[in-house]
């Protein structure tokens, strides 16, 4: 009886998930339709399904759809990493950027831009350098926690230290850069979903799916961590190992997202919190991820349309919406 009621309650949450997915699809559809060149629903569907050869088809398939897909994947990926890190680091303020990913990748991108002329022949040079740099940051953290222990405090403190180290390195580079280089660096740092093409979307998608499967496989262990490290260990969880591998995979996924779209703050922090309030801890990883997608596709839609004739970088919009939303969550308190 009790088991049945419990399972029924859990099944109801599946409908919540379905609702979130529907909202996501509606938003993606809207961001394909709405823009400086408006496309009607009928025309939009025609272009999506039949690939009718027209202007709208070009706009949709070459510009708006990849941008919406990028936003959805990047938002979902960052939120997924945020959710996992909040659980394994036992800190509601953890996000993909707690471990220094944002400043280390910004430094990597700046480095490639700084030594530009030698690299610039390859269009992926900046992304690759950003990715490599955040990889280095991640492995410094892993090294430190292997040296000491992989407690959540060690990881968070190392992340803060790494973050400020790379910020300092970035500042030095900027100091010696030319005006054009500085503007290129700053432009890169504003996260923007229109940079990625289908190739990059495919890469992010594959990494997203692989990380997701890994996290999902450990979802029971993540719940056991809520009882405390000792309790989780006595139930057979290798806590240190789980914490380190989860951290590394979350860092890899967020580093690759950041490498392709730049720094997009607040999604990874706020989406898991919102998801927890809507759904509780059932299906927490999935719900956080979908909430992140919704958040970023929505923010991207706003960024394109809020000012006439200007497309804002989505990173600015997420921070604009994110900060007040965060205040709201704080004031409303824990549910």
């Amino acid at each position: 009886m009790i088991a049945k009621t419990y399972l029924k309650q859990k099944r109801i949450k599946l409908f919540y998930l379905l609702a979130l997915v529907i909202i996501l699809f509606v938003l993606i559809f809207a961001s394909v339709m709405i823009g400086s060149y408006n496309i009607s629903v009928y025309e939009c569907l025609k272009a999506l399904v039949f690939k009718a050869n027209s202007n709208s088809e070009l706009v949709i398939w070459q510009m708006r759809l990849p941008q919406a897909l990028t936003a959805s994947l990047a938002g979902g990926g960052l939120a997924l990493c945020g959710a996992v890190l909040q659980v394994v680091l036992k800190n509601p303020l953890a996000s993909p950027f707690t471990l220094g990913i944002s400043s280390s990748s910004a430094f990597g991108a700046a480095l490639a831009i700084f030594f530009g002329s030698a690299f610039l022949k390859n269009p992926y040079a900046v992304s690759f350098s950003a990715f490599l740099s955040s990889l280095i940051a991640t492995f410094i953290i892993v090294f430190i926690s292997k040296l000491k222990n992989a407690s959540n405090e060690t990881l968070i403190l190392s992340g803060v230290a790494i973050g400020s180290l790379f910020s300092a390195l970035l500042a030095i580079l900027q100091y010696f850069s030319s005006d054009t280089q500085i503007s290129a660096i700053i432009f890169w740092m504003f996260g923007d979903c229109s940079r990625a093409s289908y190739h990059e979307i495919f890469v992010i998608f594959v990494l997203y799916i692989l990380s997701f499967l890994f996290f999902l496989k450990n979802s029971i262990d993540y719940k056991l961590l809520l009882f405390g490290d000792d309790q989780a260990k006595s139930l057979g969880v290798n806590v240190e190992n789980l914490r380190l591998t989860s951290m590394v995979i979350a860092s890899l996924l967020s580093a690759s997202i950041v490498a392709f779209v730049g720094i997009i703050g607040f999604v990874g922090l706020i989406a898991p919190q919102v998801a927890k309030r809507i759904m509780g801890l059932d299906y927490f990883l999935i719900s956080s991820s979908i909430t992140g997608s919704i958040f970023l596709v929505g923010a991207d839609l706003l960024a394109k349309n809020v000012l006439q004739n200007v497309v804002l970088p989505v990173g600015i919009v997420t921070s604009f919406i994110g900060a007040p939303a965060f205040f709201y969550l704080i004031i409303r308190g824990k549910k």
């Binding site: 009886m1 419990y6 000792d230 309790q231 260990k233 006595s234 139930l235 801890l281």
Partner: protein, 250 residues
Amino acid sequence: MSLEVKNMSFSYKYNKILKDVSFVAKKGELLALLGPNGAGKTTLLKCISGLLKPFGEVIFDGRLLNKMSFKEISKIVSYFAQSSGNSGLSVFESILLSRKPHIKNSFSAKDYAIVQSIIKMLNIAHLSLKKLDHISGGEAQKVRIAQLLAQESKILLIDEPLNNLDLKNQIEVMRLLKSLIVQKNLIVIVAMHDLNIAFNYADKLLFLRDGYVIDFCSLEQLDNCVIDKTYGVKMDILNQKGKKICIPYF
């Protein structure tokens, strides 16, 4: 079958916490672990459960526990810490999660059935859909015992289960433990502070002070001066209706 701890020592850096601790606990026995704060009770429980890696041996059924992985130990030993995290999980789910040592990837119908029968046995059905942070201290202790049972291990190590409980709940929890030990033929080691409760329910008493075993005995063999040696408090041990009670000198 028995649990044997042989010459166990443990230090945090240069600070020796346990010094050459040895004892044997048999199946169907409740062993009370007694001693002042900082005597090493919690450390001893953590060493037996594999959370800490001590020198010396922990042997159960001829198998060396302290060479096993967390996963293997978790099928034999359950450990319950003094306080567990504030998790936001429901009572039912937290008991279900304790089935972890026995599952591969997800919970089966059998796991649900076991959890359900434990809930029925402990009479906590009315709590099962509440959140862990919304129940009282006494109820929480019962849920913790339910979690221990769901783990289906042969050795239960419980760190101060009577903390923050009123008299009635203390007795209820101890009775429950006692009946489970008989029913399931368990080995249970409980760290606790109340000597009279220990005298009433425990089969063996292990007195610990500064990491040393002061005495390991049954109630009948208990010597008056052991309590003084352990706690530094003079006590009278009286016989009352065939039971022993201790009263401090004031």
